[in-house]
Symmetry: C2
Subunit: 387 residues, 2 copies
């Protein structure tokens, strides 16, 4: 058994890196991971832009400026204004080079094509200078950033139609356990309903991975070998639920050894999720997660996400925040404690039973409490993992 930090370091060491692919910049890019720094190919704005509906002016004109035309937003029209001349202009329109300021429409009086200023704005007023928002060549978004709707908008505003992104991993899920019955099907006595397949499918999809399929596996050595072979042939990441403890009916570790998988660790000094396994086989990463539904999800959030961060080149996703209540650790193992984010604090949920998803369904973060830490006081900063 190893400690949590050693397990995370082994994941960092043995994680693969996803290939880069080119993707179209549109709504479908949301959630993708950028594989390149984005430098602005143009200035924003690209031209001197009016920030008001009003009048672009050239020089002074005590008896009023002569109105000689109009420039709606988007219009290619321009004018070579002489001192004492003005053009009607709208928000976003290109201000002629010959204009030195824009007066807002509320500050003028118009009569017989003559613009009389009620207030004369200062030079440069209401004109957005070229590059005042973003300068051509400026680094605007860092490599490894997860694309958000705002980033899609940013890329499009810069006229970009393609971006290099990381190819998401293909993921296969294996669900083991003869005690499992599908919901909706008549159970035998002693059986419980299966849920991990759908839970893992939902989280990997949420995390942007390409879900391939879920394979149900009997508690049988040869069936386990066959299922793992099939899974690694079509996935970059294989998630196995159950069968990884040391019981007489736990065949996953044996099957992985038989297939020649390289074991990086098996067993982490933590609660929940002690039997966790991480290995590599034929270039695919394999996590065998304890079958208890709450342990499965806890290990996913901490370890599988860490692997995904490495694979996709994103930053580690823990968030540090103040603890909302005292915590005690009597277990001599690291704890991952379900909590709610509330008023800027991580507030533990008083339901520690690792065997149920009930507290998970109310939690949104996991608080990490190290094996060597026996107590934490409210207000101390703690490391948290998103659920």
């Amino acid at each position: 058994m190893i400690e949590v930090q050693e397990a995370l370091a082994l994941i960092d060491r043995f994680a693969a890196e996803s290939p880069e692919v080119s993707a179209e910049v549109d709504a479908g890019l949301n959630g993708a991971i950028l594989a390149q720094n984005i430098f602005a190919p143009i200035n924003l704005p690209e031209f001197r832009q009016s920030s008001m509906d009003g009048y672009a002016l050239c020089g002074g004109a005590p008896e009023g400026h002569e109105l000689i035309g109009e420039i709606p937003a988007g219009s290619p029209n321009t004018y070579n204004l002489k001192p004492g001349q003005a053009v009607r202009i709208f928000t976003g329109a290109a201000v002629p080079d010959s204009a030195d300021r824009v007066v807002m429409q509320e500050h003028v009086a118009i009569e017989n094509d003559r613009v009389t200023l009620i207030k004369d704005p200062s030079s440069g007023a209401n004109i957005r200078a070229i590059g005042s928002q973003i300068k051509q060549g400026q680094l605007v978004i860092d490599k490894g950033t997860k694309v958000t709707p705002a980033i899609i908008g940013m890329l499009l505003s810069l006229g970009l139609t393609q971006a290099a992104v990381r190819k998401p991993p293909r993921v296969c899920v294996l669900v083991t356990g003869d005690e499992l019955a599908q919901p909706g099907v008549q159970k035998s006595p002693g059986q419980v309903y299966e849920s991990n397949g759908s839970v893992l499918e939902a989280v990997v999809k949420e995390d942007g991975a390409q879900f391939v399929e879920t394979i149900a596996v009997k508690d049988d050595f040869h069936a386990s070998v066959q299922a793992i072979k099939q899974a690694v042939s079509k996935a970059d990441l294989v998630l196995i639920s159950g069968g990884i403890s040391v019981g007489d009916y736990d065949f996953i570790a044996m099957a992985l050894t038989q297939l020649g998988a390289e074991k990086h660790f098996h067993g982490v000094r933590q609660k929940p999720g002690k039997p966790l396994y991480f290995g590599t086989l034929e270039g695919s990463a394999i996590f065998a997660l304890p079958g208890n539904p709450a342990s499965t999800l806890s290990c996913y959030c901490v370890y599988v996400r860490r692997w995904l961060q490495n694979y996709l080149g994103t930053n580690p996703a823990t968030v540090t925040m103040p603890l909302g209540a005292d915590l005690v650790n009597r277990f001599g193992r690291a704890l991952f404690i379900k909590a709610k984010f509330d008023q800027g604090q991580a507030v533990p949920i008083d339901e520690f039973n690792s065997a149920t998803l009930l507290s998970f369904s109310k939690a949104d973060i996991l608080i990490f409490m190290g094996a060597e830490v026996t107590e934490l006081k409210a207000g101390e900063m703690v490391e948290t993992y998103k659920i």
Copy 2:
């Protein structure tokens, strides 16, 4: 012009409610909004369940318990143990009614089908009682909750295959502005690249709505009327970007009046997003959002999300947390200030220009600062909106 709180109250008052539909419980349910309280139809566990690999024991046996059989997890096997007898049992398996405790396998010695206890556990040890995790009839998940992977697991563990959820709204996006050119297409002088269509498509999809289409509209009265007619005929929610200010080329308000839309408000004392419009036409809700990309997204996060919360019956989504730096409001209007969530605090991003998406692309929350609030000190609690 009205205040932010009045605008939100009008949205609450005039928002429609989505119909309920029945949905399958599988990975595809992730993100849906529950339209029913979920009560547990069964106990969890449903039977007395071993929490260890070990031996289920009946009574005392100074000379060792007689081993009479085995119960793997999921097995329907059971035994009527007499005092002094034991069965091999595995984690998750049904403990026979006649057994009073389970001893873990590390605490016994086995010889000739006789189980000698190294440590004798107390009565009831290592047996999960019926309903000890969840009691039949217990309320486990509240109506209005957004389904997460853990909730999918919870529902499946309870054997549920169908759940009542709220039908997501169909959303049409109208993008107005003759100054807009599609990225990848040669622009005329004076034009800028269009981005709001894809941004709005991405956010409404992220929020679980059913995106219908984006319609580009010329700055023209009749084109605006036609486009709005078309949009309301196929959407529950119409989002219009641009054309809502008071310039000579802003035709949206006129077109809405012409079509007989019921205007709930037009203009909010805020920055960004002052010209915001909210109305209803033929049963569809219409938001006309200022066309500036950053204003559009800010108004979406605050007002359109509020409408979605009402429509789907979820809780208001603001989060209160401490402010990470002092803020000043010199505008006499409510401000929505881009910020990053860091160490449990809302840290403003020092880039207030509403005309760019650059700061939005780095922010994850908006801090609300009321029109009447002239300054806020670091550490004060503030209301924030998720971006």
